[in-house]
């Protein structure tokens, strides 16, 4: 049986003893060949989870695994299987794009420089340009080219879209989806903006307050959730949240064809609202 590309077992991480857990009691398995959206509000634990898979954070409870390897024990072997795009601009501003490729080629023998160069050429970013001169979108494309060209079977993208304009986001996602789909890789993409990722992802993980609220395929999530503007109540109600026109919407766990199918954003909002209600209660 092949190991899941990424998983977490009873994973918990707390940055300081005096502070609440960033993530706790998390059991999660990412499907091979999927593009999974890791969605949740700021502070929900998305980055903590991704950074733990990268070996940047050490679990305080449980463990995280990459292709069955415990990252805490076998970080080097685990990281070899990962390509990573960091949350904020984490490239060397004073180095050129080509210098970044040289670095990657030093540490990753399988790094495909030609592929990386063709990717950045397509994004109209010359390899001789200094990273500090590039726009946020161009830097994100360089980061993505680096991660893709490593040839790693698993990609972790930690809010790479956060500082990009809408067109740059579309460009970024188009490249990501094309390459992940054609190469059969697995990708996990975190974002707190659901609309950004709904066209790209086929699996959805919703986190809030460090807890897993939902983990399902996008198709299943949409098939099993409906929204209602009526005063819905009962067991089927996941959460209530304000709609785009200010009206109160309820997310229902239902496949009733008479009700409108929930969008991915509404599903996420409904689960986040349920968590907020639970905390208030």
């Amino acid at each position: 049986m092949s190991e899941a590309p990424l998983s977490a077992e009873n994973f918990g991480r707390r940055y300081r003893r005096s502070r609440p857990w960033a993530v706790r009691d998390l059991d999660l398995t990412i499907q091979t060949g999927s593009i999974t959206a890791l969605v949740g509000p700021n502070g929900s634990g998305k980055s903590t989870l991704i950074r733990s898979w990268m070996g940047f954070e050490r679990p305080d409870e449980g463990r995280v695994l990459v292709e069955g390897l415990d990252v805490g024990r076998h970080r080097k072997n685990a990281v070899e299987k990962l390509g990573y795009v960091a949350q904020s601009n984490a490239l060397y501003r004073d180095l050129s794009v080509g210098d970044h490729f040289d670095l990657a080629a030093t540490y990753r023998p399988e790094f495909d420089r030609d592929f990386a160069t063709s990717r950045t050429d397509e994004a109209r970013v010359g390899v001789n340009r200094r990273v500090g001169e590039l726009s946020g979108g161009e830097q994100a494309q360089v980061g993505l080219a680096l991660a893709l060209a490593t040839g790693a079977p698993i990609l972790l993208l930690d809010e790479p879209l956060a500082s990009l304009d809408p067109l740059a986001r579309r460009d970024f996602l188009a490249v990501l989806v094309e390459h992940v789909r054609t190469s059969g890789r697995t990708a996990v993409l975190s974002s707190h903006i659901v609309t950004d990722v709904q066209q790209a992802c086929d699996w959805l993980v919703v986190l809030a307050n460090g807890r897993l609220l939902l983990h399902t395929s996008v198709a299943e999530a949409r098939a099993q959730h409906r929204t209602s503007t009526t005063d819905a109540s009962g067991e089927g109600v996941v959460g209530r949240f304000p709609g785009p026109d200010g009206e109160q919407l309820a997310l229902l766990k239902s496949s009733d064809p008479s009700l409108p199918e929930a969008t991915l954003e509404e599903i996420v909002l409904g689960y986040m609202a349920s968590q907020r209600s639970a905390r208030r209660a």
Binding site: Y92, Y107, A147
Partner: protein, 320 residues
């Protein structure tokens, strides 16, 4: 590997360039001063004549020694301090950013995601910097050694005087400062606080550790007794007096024997009454065995500090 070294040097080009300029500037100053001193053409016997008494030196010798001294002492006031602080400045300046700046600017996330082995990443950061900065420092220390050789022919220094201003100890100190600064940078994660902290620790270390270590080592060496009038260059630990009967007493005990009427000049009384001042210590020749030990000790400390950075980097989060 060479591509990685090129990128490392490019990333640290400001520190590397400043290091090369400082080290080569001081080396050039040492060589220039040395050439000026040699051009005076003062014979070694002139300095011996001068030491015996300036009035007894020949006019030719007195002129040469004065010219030599004028050139030497008007320049050593900045060359000696420069050579003394160079290894620490270079070590701190090069060492702190290796890890601290990567954490501060968050580039460690990119570096450590690309390099599965952080140990290998650190090694690839260190060796080009050590090679380039080390070469520059070695050139400065060699030039300073040449100057030192010219100086000691003229004015033999006190024992342990000027250690660290020339020779391999300069390079060893630079490595130790580099290792310390890199370790502090990796622990603190911010460049400026790490620079300040590393400077304070280096200052403390250079002021106290060698003095303590030299003294402790000297006391373990076979010592001998020196009469006060013995001209042998030496360092001494204990002073005492030999009594007329051949026994040894401490200075305090000798002073207690001095009658009240001679209290104004007790040493003259002791001399007149056969109390001879002695000291216990080691000769300059024995003391000269210390320098290689200090070099080796400092090098070992440097290597250990560099090595100690590895587990810190391996355990660290990639942000400040």
């Amino acid at each position: 590997m060479l591509a990685s070294a090129r990128v490392t040097l490019k990333h640290h080009r400001f520190e590397v360039l400043a290091t090369i300029l400082a080290a080569l500037g001081l080396a050039a100053a040492c060589l220039w001063l040395n050439s000026q001193l040699l051009a005076v053409n003062a014979r070694p016997d002139c300095f011996r004549e001068w030491m015996d008494g300036p009035d007894s030196a020949s006019r030719e010798c007195a002129t040469a020694v004065r010219a030599f001294s004028d050139i030497l002492f008007s320049n050593m006031s900045w060359i000696d301090p420069g050579m003394a602080i160079l290894p620490f400045v270079v070590g701190i300046f090069i060492g702190v950013p290796v890890v601290a700046r990567e954490l501060e600017t968050r580039t460690a996330q990119t570096a450590w995601s690309l390099s599965p082995s952080r140990t290998r990443w650190l090694a690839n950061q260190i060796w080009p910097l050590v090679l380039v900065a080390g070469t520059a420092i070695c050139i400065a220390s060699i030039a300073s050694s040449m100057l030192h050789a010219t100086r000691i022919n003229a004015f033999p220094p006190q024992i342990f005087e000027g250690l660290g201003f020339h020779g391999p100890l300069v390079a060893a100190r630079a490595l130790a400062a580099f290792g310390l600064a890199m370790l502090i940078g990796a622990v603190v994660g911010r460049s400026l606080p790490a620079v300040v902290l590393a400077a304070v620790v280096c200052l403390f270390a250079v002021l106290f550790v060698p003095t303590y270590a030299r003294d402790a080592w000297a006391r373990t060496q076979p010592s001998q007794l020196f009469e006060w009038s013995d001209p042998t260059p030496r360092i001494t630990f204990d002073d005492f007096y030999r009594t007329p009967s051949g026994g040894f007493i401490s200075l305090g005990e000798a002073l207690s024997l001095v009658p009240e009427e001679s209290a104004d000049n007790p040493y003259a009384w002791m001399l007149e009454n056969g109390y001879i001042s002695f000291s216990r210590g080691i000769t300059a020749e024995t003391a000269s065995q210390w320098e290689p030990l200090e070099v080796a000790g400092t090098l070992v400390a440097g290597v250990l500090l560099v090595g100690a950075t590895t587990p810190v980097v391996n355990r660290r989060r990639p942000t400040a």
